[in-house]
Each structure stands twice: as structure tokens, then as C-alpha cells.
């Protein structure tokens, strides 16, 4: 079983992203479950969303405490909340940031990738510059970075799962798929396995 935790802020679309991810995985023939942090949602407040992936129906119905993959929709959360809590050894961290990957200081045990999902989203007219909707861009980057799910399934699930602008969202995901930068070498990109 693969467990993914997404950190965002209310309004960024993290909960929808976790759900689209689950749909994409199901399209590929595996089973998935997604859920938000069980709480009251407020715009701007830290929000968690989770996706579980397995080859058989997911029976585990608990919170995710030790994720394999982290997706951080808002890099400021890294300073204000315990984003890395429980991340498994050898896990991956994907961050939406305009900062260069060389400038990030994370322990070497993790594979790290960055993508400027905010910039991509704004250029595809997804949200305003002050509040870009980065959820679909980040999924494209996640697909390339981790290989957990293929980009075709992601794009199809995005088209079905977003309430508006399916073409723009799909295009943003594909652009982020190309733009993601990782500390892992090109050969490793997309073939990360977590134990």
C-alpha cells in the first residue's frame, strides 16, 4: 500500500487533488481511497488531504500517520507546521515553490522535487495571482516525479474531476509534468520505490 499526504491551505484545491489522484489510480486498475483531514475547512487555514493506493480494495480506515509521499502545495507550511511528520525513510517530497531546488535543505534520505505550480496555474488562468489554484498542476508533477500514477490517467481524471475549465487544468498538469525538477537523476525520475 502506498500512502500520500498533501499539505495545502483551504482554497488551493488539495482535497479535490487527492480525490482526482484516487480516480486516476482507479482508472489504471488499482484501488484507491482519498479523504481530507477530518476538520472544519476555512480558506487559508492549513488543510491536509490523503490518498491511499493498493492492488486490492482499501480496508484501512484510519488517518495516515506514516506517508510514503508528501505533496506540499504551499511552501510556507514547511515553516509553520510539522509537514514532515512521519514521512517514511526514502520518502519523496514534492514542493510547489519558485525557489531553486539547490536552495532547499532537506535530509538526504528523502527524494525532493520542486515545481512552480503557482506560476503554471496563473498562466493557465487557474485562479488569481494572489490565490492560484495549484492542485491540478501539482498532480502532473507528482506523476512524473514518483511514477505512482501515469500522466494519461491523471489528465483523464482531471478532465472529469474539476468543476470548471477542464482544458486549462489538463494543460497545466501536462506543463508541470515537463517542468518538475528533482534531486533524483533522470533515470530515477518516475521509478521511485519506497520501502
Amino acid at each position: 500500500m502506498i500512502e500520500i499526504r498533501m499539505h495545502g491551505r483551504g482554497g488551493q484545491g488539495g482535497v479535490i487533488a487527492a480525490k482526482i489522484l484516487a480516480s486516476a489510480i482507479f482508472k489504471e486498475g488499482r484501488f484507491a481511497q482519498s479523504f481530507p483531514s477530518f476538520g472544519v475547512e476555512r480558506r487559508g487555514a492549513p488543510v491536509l488531504a490523503f490518498t491511499r493506493v493498493d492492488d486490492k480494495p482499501v480496508r484501512l480506515r484510519t488517518a495516515i500517520y506514516e506517508p510514503d509521499h508528501l505533496i506540499v502545495l504551499d511552501a510556507t507550511l514547511i515553516k509553520s507546521t510539522n509537514v514532515f511528520s512521519g514521512l517514511k525513510h526514502g520518502g519523496t517530497i514534492l514542493v510547489n515553490t519558485s525557489a531553486s531546488i539547490e536552495l532547499l535543505k532537506f535530509p538526504e534520505e528523502y527524494s525532493v522535487a520542486v515545481v512552480d505550480a503557482a506560476d503554471i496555474a496563473v498562466r493557465h488562468k487557474l485562479g488569481a495571482k494572489s490565490i492560484p489554484i495549484v492542485n491540478t498542476s501539482i498532480l502532473g508533477a507528482f506523476s512524473r516525479f514518483t511514477g505512482v500514477v501515469g500522466i494519461d490517467a491523471v489528465v483523464e481524471a482531471i478532465r472529469e474531476g474539476v468543476p470548471i475549465m477542464p482544458d486549462e487544468n489538463a494543460a497545466a498538469a501536462m506543463e508541470a509534468y515537463e517542468a518538475v525538477k528533482s534531486t533524483a537523476s533522470e533515470e530515477i525520475l518516475g521509478k521511485i520505490k519506497v520501502n
Partner: protein, 428 residues
Amino acid sequence: MGMNDTNDLHKRNGLMHPSVDKVLVIEGTHAASYAVKLAKVQVIAAYPITPQTGVVEKLSEIVSHRDLNAKFIKVESEHSAMACCIGASISGARAFTATSSQGLALMHELLHWAAGSRLPIVMVNVNRAMAPPWSIYVDHNDSLSQRDTGWIQFYAESNQEVLDTVLQAYKIAEIVSLPIMINLDAFVLSHTSEPVAIPKQDIVDEFLPGREALFRVNPDEPRAFGALIGPEAYMEMRYKLFQAMEDAREVIRKVDSEYSEKFGRSYGGLVEEYCTEDAEIVLMTSATAVSTARIAVDELRSLGFPVGLMKVRAFRPFPVEEIRDLARRVHKIGVMDRNISFGATGMIYQETKAVLYNAPVRPKLFGFIAGLGGRDITPETIKDIYSYLLNHDAPESETVWIGLKSSQESRSDRGDSSSEAFGQNENL
């Protein structure tokens, strides 16, 4: 993974049964909404409350798109929502509402009214802890507090079971003339998305034709409904309600097996046993905790422990025969309640104990309280309980609380500690 592999995998997991129209990855609230659409409900009246809101949001969308020809009545309270359903049901319509927690409590008076009038109303209740202190998280005190209102009560383990049980419920309700409440855990099901097979409409129509009310408001044939009645007849009407609930047991079993024939999914009727064939110690519990408990049972059995599980799917009518039958086969029964009756014990435990008092064989019985107010029930929680059952010949007290913190621990757990290791990352 190729398309053929995909089909193969999903076939093995019952998602490619001939009855399936499509499979959607949806949350529990929406599984209820799709079932209401498939059941061709005619009147929906509801008031939104977290975490039930998704049920009526989706339904209002379905009705406004004319995908369901129903009257959607927006009301000012849950009391009015149930009043509307009662009126609609008396007029012969198939009626639906959904609520949660405080909303259900506000309906209380009318729950008696619906059952006393023998109306086959179906309601989805998203189980949420009662306030104060305010909570939006799961436990079962809200619905179990309504146990004596005359409603049939089901507890669902998965989103698929929510959809399937709503369809079964209309059939059962209209046979026995009793209202039915389908309960699903707040957030753990209500806000969790997972694959749900949506059956084909024509097969649902075969299984569940339109309602034919025995009695209904009809200006051409005037009748009085719910009028004053004297002591000479009230008791007999109560006996009939009691008898209808007794009869519901067999109807629930039959409808579940008919459902299985048509749709390929069965839930065992009132209970489902898991790994009990050779089990010496069995844990009874309900709702989503069952799903997680299956994992714990598999683990413990792989280590050689003779443990099993009984899922309590129906709480009303209570599965008397099933529990007495289990009691004949095992040494110890534990009951994990996600509820507490103050001054007594957990409610499923209480009822199990009552059922076994006159039973020919009475194994040792243990009552556990866990998961109140959304406290996570993990495989470890369940394993702690099995461990207690394995290591004790008798319970040390009438209720054993699992995972209870000291007051100091619960104070320090309230704040989220910020990252120390990563807090200094200035480049972000």
C-alpha cells in the same frame, strides 16, 4: 497496467458484475445521493448539517438537472424536514431525508411519529458525536439515542454498502411498513472517496418497483391518520409495531439475499461473520471499525491466534438469533462500542448481554469503549482489545475504555507542535 489487467482486477473485486452501470470514485455522502436517485424517491426534504451536507447538495444538483423527478423541499429545521417526509409518505410518496447528530436529536419527536404511523421513510444519518463539547467527528450516540423510536437501524462499513443499503432499505421499509435509518461514520465514510459500483437503473427498477401504499391520503376516500385513540386500542397498535420489527428480521435477510442475486453483493442480513469458523474469541463491532478490524484479525490469525469478528449491521431489530448462535460456538465475546450510555455501558454490549441472559450457552462477555468523538480506531486499537480478550478470563470492569489518556496527556495533545528539524528552511 494494461486494460486487460485492469478489467481482471476489478472483476475479481465485484466491480464488473453485469448489474454495474459504471464505477465512480465518490464520497459516502454521494453514494447515498446516487442511491436515492436510483430508488426514484419522490420527495426529499432536508436541512444541511456537517458532515451530512454532501448528501443533500448532490441531491439538489440531481433534482435541478432533472435527473430525478422529485420534489425537493428546503426546510427551516430538521423537525420540519421529518414533518415533510411524514406528510409525503402519508400521501403515498417515497420520501427521503438526511441528517446528523444535533439535527437528528431535533427530529426526535417526529421519529416516533413516523414509526407510529408505520411510514416507510428512509433517512441517512451521518454519525456525529453529540455536543457539548462541540464535535463534528464520529461516534454513534446520536443514532443509538433514538433506538426506542421504532426505526430500523443499519450501520454501513463502506461507501458501496451505503448505496446498497439505501436500495435495500426502501424495499424492506415498504414490506414491513417501518421507517429505516442508515448510519454512516462522519468523515471516515462521509468525506472519504472510494470506488462505488453504480447499478443499472433497469435492474434497480426490477428489484425496487414504485411504492404502492396500503393507505394514503386521498380526497376521494377520506381517512384519519394518527388520530386520538383510547386505551382500548393503543396497546394493540403498539403490539403490531413490535411485531413488524420482529418480522423485519426475516425480511432483512431475504431482501439481502435477493439483492445478492441481482447485484452480486451481500452483507449477511443483520450481521456478517468474519473468520469465525474456528474462532474461540470473537469481537463484535459495527460501521467502519469493522473494516479496520478485518486487517487486525488477518494479522492475528496469521500469528496463530484463534480470533474472529462479527459485524453488527442491524442494531434495530437487534440480531438476537445470530448472537445466540455465535455464543454457542465461542469461548469469549468482546463488544467494541463507539458509544456510551451514561450510568450503564456501551449500548451494543448492553443489548448483547441481555440477549445472552436466557441463552442456553453464555460465553464470557467483555465490553469495550473506543473511538468516541472521532478518536481514531486503528488496527492497533483493535489488537489491544484482542490482546485484552486473550489475556483475561473475565473483564476487570463492566466497561473497559481503550486508549483513554490522562488529563495531562489530553492537554498537551491539543496544540500542533511545529517542526523543529525543518523550521529553519529560509529559502522557501
